[in-house]
């Protein structure tokens, strides 16, 4: 029936709209921004053309002569200058003669223009020559032009004879807004800092995943499995606390434990050790805490998944094995672990993605420090684009870094969809009248 389909479309529309607007569109925009050199300096809307000292430096390598000329002021006999000369209250003949004979002329240096002024019929004094020449001083330096055309016409009127290619070069180096570029990606590929961050990320994901999200979670699940119900639920409750606690409080608790006025310092002080910041005093400690902080959160999800999977193992298998005299270790080895293969795979896949993208805890705990020791990829993207010490936020580079995460995430999840036989998940609906 047609109505079911219409109803379906209507009911799914809000989800589709929200996901497209606030999920897909930002991802697409990230891809777009990653192809630009957008920073705080270039702004995020369009820019202007400005021949600033630093753009002249950039120009020097391509066109040294023109760059040198642009750095110097030029003298143009134009209307504005003539009006100003008339307003100086000098002999009226000076302005009239300049207007009649010299309008439109351009002099490359002050000496040239002053020689011309001295040769005028009225013969102005040296002081007057200086005054007059100053009215025609036209520099392109530090003037803003809203468009290319304005820039070019200004250059033309100042007598710069440039070929179209040279003009384009000038426009390119003097543009203050952002431009399209693929530099972000080559920078990522070649920078040693990025290699370090990549190494950190792999280390972080591997350590937390193996030690806690899978290893410790499995241990916890097995231990509580064999425990009487009350202590089992108490321990599960304790290990769920980190997950339900807001991240800011949770990290604050660790800081209280590790800071120089914190618990460990006070405790060690009783044994005569001077207080220090155990969290940030060296890279190894910082790593230890980063792994612990994230691991304690990660352990809970694995624990729950594994516990519920273990509950699903038929009890008869345990009884039968005991009749045969199996020890507890043998039960774990031959009954529990083989049946944990799918849950372990699921948790590994799921948590790899979560860990790759997570940076809240590291941001709050060490902020990537000490030095760059605990800076991981997601945190580095955040720092680059939204919060860095230099103050110049590199949106383009940050977006490119984020895009790398997106690509890895999509590839991994497509792989997982295959592994977990996606087909069974999207079987046809029950009723489709």
């Amino acid at each position: 029936m047609k109505s079911s389909r219409t109803l379906g479309l209507v009911m799914i529309a809000p989800a589709a709209i929200m996901i497209v607007l606030f999920f897909l569109m930002p991802v697409v925009l990230t891809a777009v921004f990653s192809m630009t050199n957008m920073t705080t300096a270039t702004g995020i809307s369009g820019g202007v053309y400005q021949i600033a000292p630093n753009s002249l430096i950039a120009l020097k390598s391509a066109m040294p002569d023109i760059a040198a000329e642009m750095a110097e002021p030029r003298y143009t006999i134009d209307d504005a200058g003539l009006k100003a000369v008339e307003g100086l209250g000098l002999a009226p003949g000076i302005a009239a003669e300049l207007r009649a004979k010299h309008t439109g002329e351009v002099f490359p240096t002050r000496r040239d223009v002053e020689r011309m002024i001295k040769d005028l019929a009225e013969r102005p004094s040296t002081r007057e020559v200086k005054q007059i020449s100053e009215q025609f001083n036209r520099s392109v330096l530090n003037t803003r032009f809203d468009s290319k055309e304005q820039l070019f016409s200004a250059l033309d009127s100042l007598g710069f004879k440039l070929t179209p290619e040279q003009k384009e070069t000038v426009a390119r180096v003097t543009y203050t807004g952002w431009t399209w570029t693929t530099d972000n990606f080559s920078r990522m590929a070649t920078s040693p800092d990025m290699a370090r961050v990549l190494f950190n990320t792999v280390l972080y994901v591997a350590l937390v995943l193996m030690l806690f999200n899978v290893g410790y979670a499995l241990l916890l699940a097995i231990l509580t499995h064999y425990m009487p119900p009350t202590p089992a639920s108490i321990f599960r409750g304790i290990w769920l606390l980190p997950r339900i606690t807001p991240v800011v409080i949770y990290v604050m608790l660790w800081k209280w434990l590790a800071w120089d006025s914190g618990f460990i310092s006070i405790l060690m002080g009783k044994f005569g050790y001077p207080p220090k910041n155990y969290l940030l005093d060296n890279a190894y400690n910082a790593w230890l805490f980063v792994v612990l902080i994230n691991g304690f959160i990660g352990a809970s999800m694995g624990m729950l998944v594994f516990s519920s999977a273990m509950k699903a193992i038929p009890k008869s298998q345990f009884y039968a094995s005991e009749v045969d005299g199996a020890s507890r270790w043998q039960q774990i080895r031959y009954i529990i672990l083989p049946q944990m293969r799918w849950p372990i795979l699921f948790v590994t896949c799921y948590q790899t993605l979560s860990l790759l993208a997570s940076f809240n805890e590291i941001l709050l705990a060490t902020n990537g420090g000490p030095g760059n020791a605990t800076e991981v990829w997601a945190l580095s993207a955040y720092h680059t684009a939204l919060r860095n010490y230099a103050g110049n936020l590199e949106y383009g580079l940050g977006a490119a870094m984020a895009l790398v995460l997106v690509v890895i995430g999509v590839m991994l999840s497509l792989l997982y969809l295959r592994v977990f036989s996606y087909g069974t998940l999207v079987a046809k609906p029950l009723i489709e009248d």
Partner: protein
């Protein structure tokens, strides 16, 4: 919680319990001292408190210079978490039903897409949304953060609701349709009550996740007027000049207690999500 799966006596429980207690000690200590430190006085180098005080809770009745008012911040947080939750619940309970029961074009694609979206790192969304909000000048508003947060939680919500709808026997709907009700009415009055545990689970999950959310409000709405508790607390943490760890902890307890209460009341629903419900 399992009943003891083996009655054999060749092992004792207490060594295991002791070992686990030692491993859990950091967590126990942290949470114990969190509550203890907010109501007691302690010498700088002492491990045990020396007296009781309510001074650390003074943030409740006086506002620190340059900081937002705690009640305003709490209202913002509540508003943020509640709006996000309702949005996620309404939108995903509709979309989940469609994906579970109705035949819409590109259904499989949508499902796979939702699964893949779930894997997207939120840092991507933050950077792009930050730039867009700056461009159109809508930076620093609570509504923007609510929409973004809800969108991020949606993929999980939709998958979860689909999973719950899949378990509802379809005879219920058949009966409704045969009696002449529209499909919408069948969903509204027959199917929706059947997935109440799922709605509770998802609702609690998104409330907790909204209540604790830090990075989105921090980047997209850091202003005093729209600040939420996590940003407020992080501001304390960054302020090295006059930090008062005990007051900071008191704010932390103030922030944490609603979470613990909600969790204690509804944890059996939440387990549906954490223990396998999210497998879809």
């Amino acid at each position: 919680m399992a009943e003891r799966s083996q009655p054999s006596a060749n092992y004792r429980n207490w060594p295991v319990i002791t070992a686990l207690t030692i491993v859990s000690l950091p967590l126990l200590l942290m949470y114990l001292y969190l509550f203890l430190d907010t109501v007691t006085v302690k010498q700088a180098d002492a491990l045990l408190p020396s007296g009781l005080t309510i001074n650390h809770w003074r943030f409740l009745w006086q506002t620190t210079e340059g900081k937002a008012n705690i009640w305003q911040v709490t209202v913002n947080t509540l508003l943020f978490a509640a709006c996000t939750t309702s949005l996620v619940l309404i939108v995903s309970s509709m979309a989940g039903y469609v994906l579970s029961r109705l035949n819409v074009p590109a259904r499989g694609f949508f499902l796979a897409g939702v699964m893949v979206l779930h894997a997207f790192p939120s840092v991507t969304l933050i950077i792009a949304i930050f730039i867009v909000l700056q461009m159109i000048g809508l930076y620093n508003s609570l509504l923007g953060v609510i929409l973004v947060k809800a969108a991020i939680d949606l993929p999980l919500g939709i998958w979860l609701m689909k999973g719950f709808y899949d378990t509802v026997p379809w005879e219920i709907e058949m009966a409704g349709v045969v009696d002449g009700a529209s499909r919408f009415r069948v969903w509204r009055s027959l199917v929706l009550p059947q997935v109440k545990p799922g709605i509770m689970a998802l609702g609690l999950f998104s409330f907790l996740s909204g209540w604790g959310e830090f990075i989105l409000p921090q980047v997209l709405a850091p202003g005093n007027q729209v600040q939420v508790l996590s940003v407020y607390l992080a501001g304390f943490l960054a302020d090295d000049n006059n930090y008062d760890f005990n007051m900071f902890k008191a704010v932390g307890v103030f922030y944490l207690v609603p979470v613990l209460i909600a969790y204690a009341l509804f944890n059996k629903y939440l387990m549906n999500i954490y223990g396998g419900g999210s497998k879809g």
